[in-house]
């Protein structure tokens, strides 16, 4: 299974999921954390799920009793956690290299 194409938007989603790797999050929550609109977020989640980085499950509630439909929750898989950390770290390295030594914290 090939990895998804890593873009800035994908990294924002991964960073949001990595903030609490074991947590399950629904779409609106991920939209708030990543700052992405729904039309950008959901295709990314679908691609990550196809790649095996993310798994989803439906909330187990009684919609009638709760008065609302079940939501779908997303969570990073074990492989996804490793891959997401790798990609985020890679991006951090590239950013720090691009920023140059001046941007690094001065040592006393």
């Amino acid at each position: 299974m090939g990895g998804p194409r890593i873009t800035a938007s994908v990294l924002r989603v991964l960073a949001g999921l990595l903030a609490e790797p074991g947590a399950q999050r629904y779409g609106l929550e991920l939209m708030q954390e990543s700052g992405l609109p729904s039309g950008t977020l959901y295709p990314i989640l679908a691609r990550l799920e196809r790649a095996g980085w993310v798994e989803s499950r439906w909330e187990q509630i009684d919609p009638v009793a709760e008065g609302r439909p079940s939501r779908r929750y997303y969570q990073l898989t074990a492989d996804g956690v490793v891959a997401a950390r790798r990609e985020v770290a890679l991006m951090q390295q590239q950013m720090s290299r691009a920023a140059g030594p001046a941007a690094r914290p001065q040592e006393a």
Partner: protein, 559 residues
């Protein structure tokens, strides 16, 4: 990965505790609008995800809070591409390329139509030849009838800056192009559907009949205003399109103007006597000529190789008996066999060469065992040669590996691809800049236009190339088309190079089986192989394979 429904045992997520919980807000125009947008957006997703996404989005929508948030959530999904759809950037790129193709086709059709009108009595021959050429070109490219219609409208509208054509306003061009777009879209759609199910003859009939009917109706719609002004009877409308393609004064009808004075629309002139039909047909000709050629191009795109061959392969898979004649890679297999034989011959030749090259070493060692010094010299010589040969092979393999590495190939293809594109684009743009000013050969005023209208030899259009922006536009279109053509050719070449290895192996596997030409299993394999060939984009090779396969089958049948 969890899909296809609600998994049992799923537990509420820890993150769900922070979700906004509250009664769903039902009713209201905004709610209905948002739900409608979400449902419509879900329909564009792949079948395996559409239902899941719809349920998920409706659930999120119920918890989204205020109406602004709901609308933003739904509108974003409605206007954004689905998971497998191209992005907006990719769509814009595709639209730009399609628009360039449409503009190029229109310009080419207009040039050909002007050449035909300049050929006097040979005009029909030139038009037929140009139709065939554009039809053949259309089989390689898919183009939208809407975009070509827009390009034709813009060309006819902008191509008449000096008003030499009396009836070339929006009221004339608009109906003609609108009718043409509607007719050509319907004919192309119907033909494409027939092609998809393998009914090629019927598709060709629909394309030819629909195209001619469309041209008839478009010419009539575009000349209706002129006919009403000139007093030409409406019952002659069916003859307008064919007569417009013929040299002037072939048939005359309508009111006569014996004093030769003309004051129709923008045309005010005086000269030889003429009939109203002369003006009407000459005016219709400048629309009918380019539309005829564009029709051939657009309808031929329904018969593109990539559209026809998968249908043929599908038929072959469904009917094994047909597979033998339709999707037969025997020609390709023959090629593979030829390759194997050639390789074997090459090995034999190499062995013969080696034998010939070192004929003296062993024989001399056995023939003259007493000459140990000579043997030692020969052995040392052979050892040095072997070591040198091994070193050269090692270096060559390292270089080959380096050149074949993915990173190098990506870098090289990127660099060479960009350089190639720039070179092709600049050269084509230069050619466009040089040629564009030559295209404007329309009469400069009405006095010069009238005689040429009467014999239907008026060159029309390209008035816009008298302006620098018009020349620049032509150069841009030419450059984009040239780069696109070069890219397509490069992709085909690369596809051939990449596919050659595995394809040969697969064909060898088929060759290894006994009774290759008899039995459904082999036919099925042929169909699968042919399908792979087509899917891999080797349309040209597959076509050759199918042709060659037919020939081999014919031989089998005769045997």
């Amino acid at each position: 990965m969890t899909r296809g429904g609600r998994p049992p045992g799923g537990t509420p997520a820890s993150g769900a505790t922070s979700a906004p919980v509250g009664p769903p807000r039902s009713g209201g125009v905004v709610d209905r609008l948002a739900r409608g947008l979400v449902v419509a957006a879900a329909r564009r997703w792949p079948d395996d995800l559409a239902g899941i996404m719809r349920e998920e989005w409706l659930a999120e929508l119920a918890m989204a809070g205020g109406w602004r948030r709901k609308l933003a959530f739904a509108a974003s999904l409605a206007v954004s591409p689905a998971v497998d759809e191209p992005s907006w950037q990719e769509r814009a790129t595709g639209l730009g390329r399609s628009a360039a193709v449409a503009a190029g086709v229109t310009l080419g059709a207009a040039v050909a139509a002007n050449l035909a009108r300049g050929a006097a009595m040979f005009a029909p021959v030139v038009l037929v030849a140009a139709t065939v050429v554009l039809g053949l070109a259309g089989r390689r490219v898919r183009v939208s009838g809407f975009l070509v219609g827009a390009a034709v409208f813009a060309f006819l509208f902008a191509g008449n800056p000096v008003p030499v054509m009396p009836f070339m306003g929006a009221v004339d061009v608009g109906p003609a192009v609108a009718v043409w777009v509607a007719g050509i879209t319907a004919a192309a759609w119907w033909s494409r559907r027939l092609v998809a199910v393998g009914r090629l003859r019927r598709a060709a009939g629909v394309a030819a009949g629909g195209g001619l009917l469309t041209l008839e109706l478009a010419t009539a719609a575009g000349s209706a205003h002129a006919a009403s002004v000139l007093g030409v009877p409406a019952w002659t409308a069916p003859a307008w399109f064919p007569l417009a393609l013929l040299p002037g004064d072939t048939v005359s009808f309508g009111p006569s103007f014996p004093d030769g004075s003309a004051a129709f629309g923008s045309l005010q002139s005086s000269g030889q006597a003429f009939h109203a039909s002369d003006i009407l047909l000459a005016n219709a000709a400048v629309m009918a000529g380019p539309l005829l050629l564009c029709t051939a191009f657009v309808l031929a795109s329904a018969f593109r190789a990539t559209a026809v061959r998968p249908a043929a392969v599908a038929r072959a898979t469904a009917h094994p008996a047909g597979a033998r004649t339709t999707a037969h890679p025997a020609g390709a297999r023959t090629t593979a066999h030829h390759t194997t034989v050639t390789r074997a011959t090459r090995h034999q030749s190499a062995a013969a060469l080696n034998t010939a090259h070192y004929p003296t070493t062993a024989p001399r060692a056995t023939a003259d065992q007493r000459c140990s010094s000579v043997l030692r010299i020969n052995f040392t010589y052979a050892l040095i040669r072997c070591a040198g040969y091994a070193a050269v092979r090692w270096v060559r393999s390292r270089i080959t590996e380096a050149l074949a590495s993915r990173r190098f190939r990506a870098w090289a293809s990127r660099i060479t691809g960009d350089v190639r594109r720039i070179a092709v684009g600049v050269a084509a743009a230069g050619a466009g800049l040089a040629v564009a000013p030559l295209l404007s050969s329309a009469p400069a005023n009405a006095d010069a236009a009238l005689p040429r209208m009467l014999d239907n030899t008026t060159a029309f259009g390209f008035g816009f190339v008298e302006h620098p922006s018009g020349v620049g536009l032509v150069a841009l279109v030419v450059a984009v088309l040239a780069v696109r053509t070069a890219d397509a050719r490069h992709a085909v070449d690369a596809g051939r190079a990449v596919d050659a290895g595995p394809a040969v192996d697969a064909r060898r596997a088929v060759d290894a089986g006994p009774a290759v030409n008899a039995g459904p299993p082999v036919d099925a394999r042929r169909a699968v192989d042919a399908g792979r060939a087509v899917d891999a984009g080797r349309a040209v090779d597959a076509g050759r394979a199918v042709d060659a396969g037919r020939a081999v089958d014919a031989r089998d049948a005769s045997a």
